[in-house]
C-alpha cells in the first residue's frame, strides 16, 4: 500500500537504484542501496540507508525516510549500475567509461577503485576516438560485461587491467541492455527489437542465436532472465510492451503484455519469488505483475488500464511447459497487475527488488522505498 512508501527528494534526477546484495544467510531485510544520477552538471553516485527499522511504529508501519551515507562525483550520466559484491559497484557512464567504486563501510566513504576509460567509443570519420555511452553493465563476480551505443561488447575481469575480450561491432544498432543467461552466455537487447544470445566461450564474433519482434522493429530497452527457469526471459520495449520469451524454441516472444504507455526502462523478476515481476516506465508508472495468485475463483473479466488492479490474459502461443509465465491454461491464464504509483507524471527510470523491499528513482528527483511489498 502507498502508506508504506517513504520518499525523499534528492535534488538530482535518478537514473539507477540498486539494493546492496545481502550476505548469504542474512536474516535482516535489505537496508543499504545505491543510486546514480543523470543529466546533471555534476552527477553523483550515492549510498543510502533506507532508514532505521527501530523507528517502525506499533503496527510495523514504517515512516523514516532514506538518509544519505556518502556520495562521490561521477563523470557523465550514470547509464547503468550493478553491485559486484558487498562493497564494490560497477558504474556505466555516458562518457563510455566503466568504473568500479568501492564503498568503505567503516568510515562511510566512496572511492574509485578501478576505471576502464572509454571502454566504449566511436571512431568517427576523422578517425579520432570519442567516447560512446556505455548503456548496460552486468556482473558475475569477478566478470563484468558491458554494452554500449557503439554496438560493442566488453568482457572485463575486476582484477585485470585490460579487457578479457572485446567484440567490436557486435551489433550494428545500439545495444541497450545486457544480462547473464548462464555463466558463459549473455543476452543483449538492441534498438531494432532483437534479443541475442552470445556464447563468450566461442571465438566467433557472432551471436549464437537471434530472436526478434515481429512487425515493426520496436526497440527493446531492458532484459531480465527468470532466476530459476533460465529459458524464460522478459524484455521491455519502447512502446511499453512486456515480452516474455522462451529461448528454447521459436524466434518470437511467447507472449506480449501491455500496461505501460511509453518506454519500459527496467524489468526485474523478483530474485527469490519469481512469480512476481516489476517494470517501470517513462510514463511514470511502476507495475507489479503477479502470477502467484490463484485467480480461477476470481471473476475473469478483462479490466484493462485500471489504476488499481487488472487481469490480463496472455496472448499465448502453444506451450507445453507449466510455468506461470508461459502457461496458456485458460483457467489459470490470468495475472494480477497493479500500478504502484498512481498520479505520477515524470519517468520512473529505475527500480530494484530484494526480499520484501522495493526501491525506485524518478526524473522528478525523488527516491522511494517500499519495505512491505507483499503486505
Amino acid at each position: 500500500a502507498m502508506e508504506d512508501v517513504s520518499a525523499k527528494f534528492v535534488s538530482q534526477k535518478i537514473s539507477r537504484t540498486r539494493w546492496r546484495p545481502l550476505p548469504a544467510a542474512a536474516l535482516q531485510p535489505p537496508d543499504i542501496f545505491a543510486t546514480g544520477s543523470w543529466d546533471n552538471e555534476d552527477n553523483r553516485i550515492s549510498i543510502w540507508s533506507a532508514g532505521d527499522l527501530g523507528n517502525a511504529g506499533l503496527n510495523g508501519e514504517y515512516h523514516g525516510e532514506p538518509h544519505l551515507l556518502c556520495d562521490i562525483q561521477h563523470n557523465g550520466d550514470v547509464m547503468d549500475m550493478q553491485f559486484l559484491d558487498q562493497e564494490r559497484i560497477v558504474v556505466a557512464s555516458s562518457t563510455g567509461t566503466v568504473t568500479i567504486f568501492r564503498h568503505h563501510q567503516n568510515n562511510q566513504t566512496l572511492s574509485a577503485n578501478h576505471r576502464w576509460e572509454k571502454a566504449h567509443y566511436h571512431v568517427d570519420q576523422d578517425t579520432s576516438y570519442g567516447g560512446a555511452a556505455c548503456t548496460g553493465v552486468v556482473c558475475n563476480n569477478p566478470e563484468i560485461v558491458t554494452v554500449g551505443e557503439d554496438g560493442r561488447i566488453n568482457l572485463f575481469r575486476a582484477d585485470q587491467k585490460d579487457a578479457v575480450r572485446t567484440i567490436d561491432n557486435a551489433d550494428s544498432s545500439t545495444l541497450h541492455a545486457v544480462t547473464f543467461l548462464r555463466t558463459t552466455e549473455i543476452l543483449t537487447v538492441n534498438s531494432i527489437g532483437q534479443l541475442k544470445i552470445w556464447d563468450l566461450r566461442q571465438q566467433r564474433n557472432e551471436p549464437s542465436q537471434i530472436f526478434s519482434l515481429a512487425g515493426d522493429r520496436v526497440p527493446l530497452h531492458c532484459v531480465d532472465r527468470h532466476p530459476n527457469q533460465q529459458h524464460i526471459v522478459a524484455t521491455g520495449g519502447q512502446d511499453g510492451m512486456l515480452s516474455i520469451w522462451d529461448i528454447r524454441q521459436g524466434t518470437m516472444p511467447v507472449s506480449l503484455l501491455n500496461a505501460h504507455e511509453a518506454e519500459m526502462w527496467e524489468v526485474h523478476f523478483h530474485p527469490s519469488d519469481p512469480d512476481h515481476l516489476f517494470t517501470c516506465s517513462e510514463d511514470g508508472s511502476l507495475w507489479h505483475w503477479d502470477t502467484s495468485t490463484n485467480v480461477s475463483e476470481k471473476p475473469s473479466f478483462l479490466h484493462q488500464g485500471g489504476r488499481s488492479t487488472a487481469y490480463l490474459s496472455h496472448s499465448t502461443i502453444n506451450q507445453s511447459v507449466v510455468s506461470a509465465w508461459l502457461s496458456n491454461d485458460p483457467t489459470k491464464d490470468r495475472m494480477e497487475i497493479t500500478n504502484l504509483i498512481p498520479n505520477q507524471t515524470l519517468s520512473v527510470n529505475s527500480l530494484d527488488v530484494l526480499g520484501p523491499c522495493l526501491v525506485y528513482g524518478t526524473d522528478a528527483e525523488a527516491i522511494y522505498v517500499n519495505r512491505q511489498l507483499f503486505a
Partner: protein, 675 residues
C-alpha cells in the same frame, strides 16, 4: 513604478560598448572592442527587462572570448545573464519538483466539484504548496546550521528568510483569497497566521517555561504578554496561576483577571452563534473589563493593569509591547482581536493601514514585504503578484500562486495587453527558466502544456535547444515531442541523431533513427553509403540490420533495393540459383536498382551464367541483354567505358557469357519442348 536599471556585475559599460544576444531565458552580454568614445550610441544598454528584476544574475564565462578580427589579443568577456537566479539553488530543486506534482494535481482536479467541497480542495492544494515551502525552509536551515563556510551560511540564511517571507505571504493570500474567510472565522485564521509566523519570541517563551520557577524569571511577564497579545488565553492563564499561588495576598486580583480572560467571547468556526450574538456578548464582557479597570482593581500591579488595558483594546497599551510583537501585522491582529473581533474582510484595509502607520510611527519606511502584505489586506491581488514579481528572485512563487488564484476564479477579468492572461504569462516565464536549467527542463514541459495560448510555441522553441548528449536523452525528448504531435521537432531530433551516428560510422544506428522519423531522403542517403561500402569491400556490413529491415524496408526505394539486393546474396549463398536469378533480373527490369548499380548487378549475373546448369531462361537472357545494351548505349558517359579497359573487358565478358547462355538455353528448351 520605475526601477533603477541593473548593471551586469563585472561588465564594464563605462569604458567599452557592450553587445547583446537575447535567448529564451538568458541574455548574452559581450564586451566589444569599441571604447565608449568611438561609439555613437547614447543609451547605456545594460538595462534588462523593463521591469528590472532584483534577481538577475550574471555569470562570466570562465574563458575569455578568444581571437579578434585582426588577430590582436582580446580580453573581452562574455556574460551569461539569467533571469531566474533561484532556479540554480540546489536545495530549491526539491521545491520545484515537489510543487510540480501539486501543480499537476491541481490541473487535473475536478472543477465540477461545486461550492464547499471545491473550496476545501483548493485550500488543501494551497496548504500543500505551503508545506513544501516549509520543508524546503527546514532543509535550508539544516544546511545553514551544518555548514562551516560563513559565506555559504549567509547564503542559506538569506534563502531561509526569503522562503519564510514567501510562506507568510502565501498563507495570508490563502486566508483572504483562497479560503475567503468571512467575519468571525477571519480573525481566528489571522491569529493562527500570526502565531505561525511570529517566532522571534519563541526562544524567550521556551527559556521561561523551562526554567525551574517561571514566575521568578525576569522575563515572566513578557511571556504572559506574548500569550495575551497572540490571544493564547489558556497558556497565559496557566502561567498566571503559578504566579497566583506564589502570591496569596493578591489572589483575588488574579482570580478576577483569570475570570475575565476565561470569559472572553471568541468567534467560533461553527455556525452555532450569530455575529450579533457574539457582538452582544463581547459588549457585555468589554463593559465588565472597563469596570474593573476603572475601580482600580489592578492598580497595585502594573503588569496586570496593562494586561487589562490590552483586553480592552487600548492602542497605547498594546503599542507599548511593540518589541514583543516585532511586526505591524502582529499589532494589527492583536488590535482586531481586542477591539474588532468581528471585522469584515473589506474593513481590513482601514485597520491595516492605520496599524502600519501607528506601528512604524514615521520612524522607518515600509519595506517591500510590508507593501505586499498591505496590498493583500487591501484585496489588491494584482498588486500582490506584481510586487512579488519585482522583489522575489524567482518566478516560482508568482507563477504557482497566480495559477491557484486563477483556479479560484479570481483573476478572470485581467487580460494583458499582448493577449495572454497573467496566469499564462507567469507560467511561461517560470517554465522558460526551468528550460534554461541543465536538468530541470523536464518539469517545464508540463507547465507549457497548461498554457493554452502560447505554451505550444514556447515548448517547440525550447525543446529544440535541449542538447542531445546520449541516445537515452534523445529518446526522452523524442517521447515528449511524439506525445504532442510535434512532427517537425521529431524529424529534427531524429535527423540530428542520425547525422551523429553517421559521423561515428554507425550506419545501423543512423538507419534506425531515420526509420523512426520516416525520413525517406535520409534513409536513401544511408542506403547509398551501405552500397558504396559493399562495392568497395565486396561484402556487406551490418547484416544483422539489413536482414531484419521488415516493413521499414518500404520507407525509401533505395532502402528497398538494399534489402532486396542483400536477399539476392542470401539466396545465392544458399545456392538457390533460380530464385536468385529471378530476383536479380527483377531488380533491373522493375527499376528498383539505381542505374549506377546495374553494372554491378550484371557482373553479379556472371557466375550464374557460368553455372553448369542453365539458370536464366531464354526470355530472361534476352532481358539481361537488353539491360546491358540499355546501359552501354544509354549511358551518356560513354566515354568512360571506352577509356576504362576493365569496364570494356567486363562488357565483353558479359556479352560472351550471355551469348553462350542463350545458346545453351535454346538447346535445352528446344530439347525439353521436343521430347
Amino acid at each position: 513604478d520605475t526601477v533603477p536599471p541593473q548593471v551586469v556585475p563585472g561588465a564594464d559599460s563605462s569604458s567599452r560598448q557592450l553587445c547583446f544576444a537575447w535567448g529564451p531565458a538568458e541574455v548574452l552580454v559581450c564586451e566589444t572592442l569599441f571604447g565608449r568614445a568611438g561609439g555613437s550610441r547614447s543609451r547605456c544598454p545594460s538595462r534588462f527587462w523593463g521591469e528590472g528584476r532584483a534577481g538577475a544574475a550574471a555569470r562570466a564565462l570562465t574563458d575569455s572570448v578568444a581571437g579578434t578580427e585582426d588577430g590582436a589579443p582580446s580580453n573581452s568577456r562574455v556574460f551569461v545573464v539569467r533571469r531566474d537566479q533561484d532556479i540554480y539553488i540546489q536545495t530549491l530543486r526539491k521545491l520545484f519538483n515537489e510543487s510540480h506534482g501539486i501543480f499537476m494535481g491541481l490541473q487535473r482536479s475536478e472543477e465540477e466539484l461545486a461550492g464547499k467541497s471545491r473550496k476545501a480542495q483548493l485550500v488543501q492544494v494551497s496548504k500543500n504548496y505551503r508545506s513544501v515551502i516549509r520543508a524546503c525552509m527546514e532543509d535550508m536551515h539544516q544546511a545553514a546550521v551544518s555548514t562551516r563556510d560563513p559565506a555559504l551560511q549567509g547564503q542559506y540564511s538569506t534563502q531561509v528568510s526569503i522562503l519564510s517571507a514567501m510562506e507568510l505571504i502565501w498563507n495570508l493570500c490563502e486566508i483572504l483569497f483562497v479560503e475567503a474567510a468571512t467575519a468571525g472565522p477571519l480573525l481566528l485564521r489571522l491569529l493562527d497566521w500570526v502565531r505561525l509566523h511570529v517566532c522571534d519570541v519563541d526562544s524567550m517563551v521556551r527559556e521561561v517555561l523551562s526554567s525551574e520557577s517561571p514566575s521568578k524569571h525576569k522575563l515572566f511577564w513578557n511571556v504572559v504578554d506574548v500569550f495575551v497579545l497572540q490571544g493564547r488565553m489558556d497558556e497565559a492563564r496557566h502561567l498566571l496561576s503559578k504566579e497566583a499561588s506564589a502570591n496569596p495576598a493578591s489572589r483575588n486580583m488574579y482570580k478576577i483577571l483569570d475570570d475575565l480572560m476565561k470569559k472572553m467571547p471568541v468567534p467560533s468556526l461553527s455556525n452555532t452563534q450569530t455575529l450579533t450574538e457574539l457582538e452582544l456578548k463581547w459588549q457585555h464582557w468589554h463593559e465588565e473589563c472597563q469596570r474593573y479597570l476603572q475601580d482600580g482593581t489592578f492598580a497595585s500591579n502594573p503588569h496586570m493593569e496593562s494586561i487589562c488595558k490590552i483586553l480592552l483594546g487600548d492602542e497605547d497599551a498594546i503599542l507599548e509591547k511593540k518589541e514583543l510583537m516585532t511586526t505591524w501585522y502582529h499589532f494589527l491582529v492583536t488590535r482586531l482581536l481586542y477591539s474588532h473581533p468581528t471585522v469584515k474582510p473589506m474593513e481590513l484595509r482601514f485597520y491595516a493601514q492605520s496599524s502600519m502607520d501607528l506601528f512604524l510611527g514615521g520612524e522607518s519606511s515600509p519595506e517591500p514585504l510590508d507593501l505586499i502584505l498591505m496590498a493583500a489586506f487591501e484585496f489588491e491581488m494584482h498588486q500582490v503578484i506584481k510586487e512579488c514579481s519585482i522583489v522575489l528572485s524567482n518566478w516560482w512563487f508568482v507563477a504557482h500562486l497566480t495559477d491557484l488564484l486563477d483556479h479560484c476564479k479570481l483573476l478572470q477579468s485581467h487580460n494583458l495587453y499582448f493577449g495572454s492572461n497573467m496566469r499564462e504569462f507567469l507560467l511561461l516565464e517560470y517554465a522558460s527558466g526551468l528550460f534554461s536549467h541543465h536538468s530541470l527542463w523536464q518539469l517545464g514541459v508540463d507547465y507549457f502544456d497548461h498554457c493554452p495560448e502560447y505554451g505550444r510555441v514556447y515548448l517547440e522553441l525550447h525543446i529544440e535547444r535541449i542538447p542531445l548528449s546520449t541516445e537515452q536523452k534523445a529518446l526522452k525528448v523524442l517521447r515528449i515531442c511524439e506525445q504532442r504531435q510535434m512532427h517537425e521537432q521529431v524529424r529534427s531530433i531524429c535527423k540530428i541523431m542520425a547525422m551523429k551516428a553517421l559521423r561515428n560510422n554507425r550506419l545501423g544506428s543512423a538507419l534506425s533513427w531515420s526509420i523512426r522519423a520516416k525520413d525517406a531522403a535520409f534513409a536513401t542517403l544511408i542506403s547509398d553509403r551501405f552500397l558504396k561500402d559493399y562495392c568497395e569491400r565486396g561484402c556487406f556490413s551490418d547484416l544483422d540490420l539489413i536482414d531484419n529491415l521488415g516493413p521499414s524496408m518500404l520507407l525509401s526505394d533505395r532502402l528497398t533495393f538494399l534489402g532486396k539486393y542483400r536477399e539476392f546474396h542470401r539466396l545465392y549463398g544458399e545456392q538457390r540459383f533460380p530464385e536468385a536469378a529471378r530476383l536479380l533480373l527483377t531488380l533491373m527490369t522493375a527499376h528498383i536498382a539505381p542505374c549506377s548499380f546495374w553494372m554491378t548487378l550484371l557482373t553479379d549475373a556472371l557466375p550464374l551464367l557460368e553455372q553448369k546448369e542453365v539458370i536464366f531462361s531464354a526470355e530472361q537472357t534476352y532481358e539481361l541483354m537488353r539491360c546491358l545494351e540499355d546501359l552501354t548505349a544509354g549511358n551518356p558517359d560513354k566515354q568512360k567505358f571506352q577509356d576504362d579497359d576493365i569496364e570494356t573487358t567486363k562488357v565483353e565478358m558479359l556479352r560472351l557469357a550471355l551469348a553462350r547462355n542463350l545458346a545453351r538455353v535454346i538447346v535445352k528448351e528446344g530439347t525439353v519442348e521436343g521430347s
